[in-house]
């Protein structure tokens, strides 16, 4: 049996923009691969590095952090903090060889189609990377 690797991806979404984009992808009946699991937070700046590392340690093959476009944060500047934190985290992850598995992307509340498209691509990329835990 050699079936294709089905990755598991945790997506952090902010309440105001990216979660709304995920909702809009649904309302617009877009389809995308079923490999993502959304965790809702009020702002992407709530996401600590521990959340990301824990997700990877517990079985996720990749993590996607999402928020409002720069300048559009509901809380003025939360997404800039997310960006700074992400870049630091990525340095560490790169050293561990995990840099490609954690991404940051911005989605406005109107970008449902873009979200669906992004997930299609991301799942494809993670498939190429292969399972993180060597397969469950």
């Amino acid at each position: 049996m050699c079936s294709e690797f089905e990755p598991r991806i945790i997506v952090f979404a902010c309440n105001w923009c990216s979660y709304a984009a995920v909702d809009l992808a649904g309302t617009s009946r877009m389809t995308y691969p079923p490999h993502i699991r959304i965790v809702r937070v009020m702002c992407s700046s709530r996401v600590t590095p521990e959340f990301v590392l824990k997700a990877l340690a517990e079985g996720a093959d990749a993590v996607l952090i999402t928020g409002c476009h720069p300048g559009d944060c509901h809380y003025i500047s939360g997404n800039y903090k997310t960006l700074r934190r992400y870049l630091l985290l990525k340095k560490t992850l790169d050293q561990m060889g995990l840099g490609d598995r954690v991404r940051l992307a911005w989605f406005s509340a109107a970008e449902g189609e873009r979200f669906a498209q992004f997930i299609k691509e991301f799942v494809k990329d993670v498939r190429k990377l292969g399972p993180l835990s060597g397969g469950r």
Binding site: R8, A20, V22, M42, S45, T48, F51, E58, T82, A109
Partner: protein
């Protein structure tokens, strides 16, 4: 913390076939019933319906369920609904977790029901993990300021301002032009009734000026917005007019004498105005303004003729911008639209050929107050045009320009044919259309009326290219899909019904107000059907064209709806404070202060407590983003409802799967 045993109820909604058409809700409920802490799991066709809600209420009362998972639609849709159910049953409303099976599972994975079922189960399982750890939250009541700010003095803003003012609320109306009136003030007549636009608009403009509850700030712009819903602090910049409006009586002597001329924006460039000008004869307020880019004195340092001739001594070249601060409970954004730049439609030659004009320019030509006194002439030689072509969808419904319909062009085009036929009875009119969209009340009848007029020809097709002949006459080829023929039309005048775009400056304004936008740049309403004027921030509402293309009846209705939403928000008198605020575990906090600069609202300070430095959160300032909690190295700073102890089990459950 209470030691009460956690009793979770899981309620799986079919949402008709929206969820049940892809996965079997009974299977999900059965799966949920075996999860730790779950005492009851049920499914129901419509959980949000009255009997569905009653089901949950009954379990809370009779089975002592004290945590609720509703696996249904997005929390952005029905979280408040189900929070209400908990509250009615006597449970703290924040002991609820919504699992989004519809938007995140069945609507997007209809092509893979098996995977959808697994995902649904995993999401429910993570929801159960999370809900078990949720804590009751309390909110406080915050007083709401009983004033409203309306940005934009077009017809939608005017309607909203008058409704608010008539309901007894104080209204500040801010308009960046010297006069209110907006685009409607430029129109000659309105479709389909052919009402005189000025006759129905100007009385409302006067009402605004005279209303004791309305303060009008024209030639002003929003500088900054701070505060929160119910308590916004808005700074307004009053641009210098160089005329003391308390003295100016609008006599116009200065305008007669002013030597500097520039194209008149109000007349769409069809004539010239002076550097000192009154925007249009019915302007409200009817006061003069000096255009600093055109004034000889302000650009070159010589002239001051207006100052010498003004009988009221109103000219004041020393004026600087002034700033005022307003405290308002609600903000209505009614900033309208701009026409798409017709020069970009290169094949139509606008800007190169004088006799290619926009529909708005034709409005000015047809208007009694316009540059020709209402006589329709072609701009190149002021001759009466005998053949006129009207091109609909100029830039609209065209992926190279604007994909969307402008929603006003078809009816405006028909109305323009009427202008021409009544002004020049022997003229021939060609209307080049894509589809005739006559959707509104009385619109189809108006279309029939124009269609039956003599020498009005309907051509179904878009012109390929427009060419100019030496005498200024225009020529175009258009393939008529109705007759299946290529037509060559020679016209004296071509009118483009140009597409519409969000107005200049909206990008900056929307950032100040945090208004989300659709990909085309229009303001994004919270829900297209249920919340057409609301946005993600409470207390800020969209009115009129800025939410998306609208004709006048719809813009007025939308403006009224925005006013009603603002009144509803303010008349309750208070709002609940933010429940998801930050809190500090004083035992764990080392007072490192990393959280302090994280807070965009300056809500965190470091204080001394029993000889130790610790962080303190000002709960009146905290808006609940969680940035501080995300940065805290010790986990001392936590966000209520989104604590590490609440999110981590959810993340672990989702990462592990079932």
């Amino acid at each position: 913390m209470s030691v009460e045993e956690v009793k979770i109820g899981v309620y799986v909604c079919h949402c008709g076939k929206n969820i049940a058409g892809v996965i079997d809700p009974r299977k999900i409920a059965e799966f949920a019933s075996k999860l730790p802490g779950v005492v009851v799991a049920r499914d129901y066709p419509y959980m949000c319906s009255e009997p569905g809600q009653a089901l949950i209420e009954k379990d809370i009362r009779e089975l002592r369920v004290n945590r609720v998972v509703v696996a249904a639609c997005s929390p952005r849709m029905h979280e408040p609904t189900f929070q209400g159910v908990l509250a009615r049953a006597g449970l703290n409303p924040y002991l609820l977790e919504m699992v989004n099976l519809r938007e995140h599972v069945t609507w997007v994975h209809g092509d893979d029901p098996e995977a959808a079922e697994v995902k649904a189960k995993e999401l429910v399982s993570a929801g159960v993990e999370r809900v078990a750890r949720l804590e009751p939250l309390e909110t406080e009541r915050i007083e709401v300021v009983q004033n409203a700010l309306v940005i934009g003095g077009g017809i939608a803003g005017i309607r909203a301002a008058l409704n608010l003012a008539n309901a007894g609320f104080k209204v500040y109306l801010v308009e960046r032009e010297p006069s209110i009136g907006g685009k409607m003030a430029k129109l000659d007549k309105t479709f389909p009734t052919l009402d005189c636009s000025q006759c129905i608009l100007t009385p409302l403009m006067v009402d605004v000026a005279n209303h004791s509850n309305i303060s009008l700030y024209t030639y002003s712009e929003v500088e900054s917005v701070e505060g929160s819903p119910g308590n916004f602090l808005v700074k307004i910049r009053l641009k210098p007019t160089y005329v003391d409006w308390s003295k100016c009586v609008g006599c116009g002597i200065c305008i007669e004498k002013c030597p500097s001329r520039v194209p008149d924006e109000f007349d769409e460039g069809l004539r010239q105005r002076k550097a000192i000008y009154i925007q249009f004869p019915q302007a409200v307020p009817r006061k003069a303004v000096i255009d600093p880019d055109a004034c000889f004195y302000l650009t070159k340092g010589v002239c001051r003729v207006c100052e010498r001739v003004c009988p009221a001594g109103a000219i004041d070249f020393e004026q600087e911008p002034r700033y005022i601060e307003l405290k308002v409970g609600t903000i209505i954004v009614a900033v309208g639209f701009d026409l798409y730049n017709p020069v970009k439609l290169y094949e139509y030659g606008y800007g190169r050929y004088k006799n290619v004009i926009t529909g708005l320019q034709l409005e000015r030509l047809s208007s009694a107050g316009g540059p020709t006194g209402g006589k329709i002439v072609r701009p190149s030689d002021r001759k009466i045009p005998k053949t006129v072509a009207i091109v609909l969808c100029a830039g609209s419904r065209d992926k190279a320009h604007l994909e969307y319909c402008c929603r006003i062009g078809c009816m405006a085009g028909l109305k323009h044919a009427y202008y021409i036929k009544t002004s020049i009875p022997d003229a021939k009119v060609f209307i080049c259309y894509t589809d005739m969209r006559s959707f509104g009340k009385g619109y189809e009848e108006f279309y029939s009326r124009i269609r039956s007029m003599e020498d009005v020809y309907f051509v179904r097709g878009r012109p390929m290219e427009i060419f100019e002949l030496p005498d200024g006459t225009l020529q175009m080829d258009v393939y008529d899909q109705n007759s299946n023929r290529m037509l060559k039309i020679e016209a004296d005048l071509i009118v483009l019904e140009v597409g519409v775009v969000p107005p200049k400056g909206f990008e900056e304004l929307r950032k100040k107000l945090k208004i989300p936008t659709s990909p085309e740049g229009w303001g994004l309403e919270l829900h297209p059907k249920l919340k057409p004027v609301e946005i993600t921030t409470d207390g800020i509402y969209l009115a009129g064209f800025i939410q998306g293309p609208k004709d006048i009846p719809d813009a007025v209705a939308h403006g009224g709806a925005a006013a009603a939403a603002a009144i509803t928000f303010m008349s309750k008198g208070y709002i609940e404070s933010e429940p998801y605020i930050a809190e500090v575990n004083e035992e764990l906090c080392s007072g490192c202060g990393i959280c302090v600069p994280m807070c965009p609202y300056d809500a965190i300070s470091i204080v001394e407590r029993e000889g130790r430095r610790i962080a303190k959160v000002d709960i009146t300032k905290c808006k609940g983003c969680g940035a501080c909690a995300g940065a805290c190295p010790s986990g001392a700073m936590q966000q209520r409802h989104f604590k590490d102890s609440q999110l981590m089990p959810e993340i672990v459950a989702l990462a592990r799967g079932i």
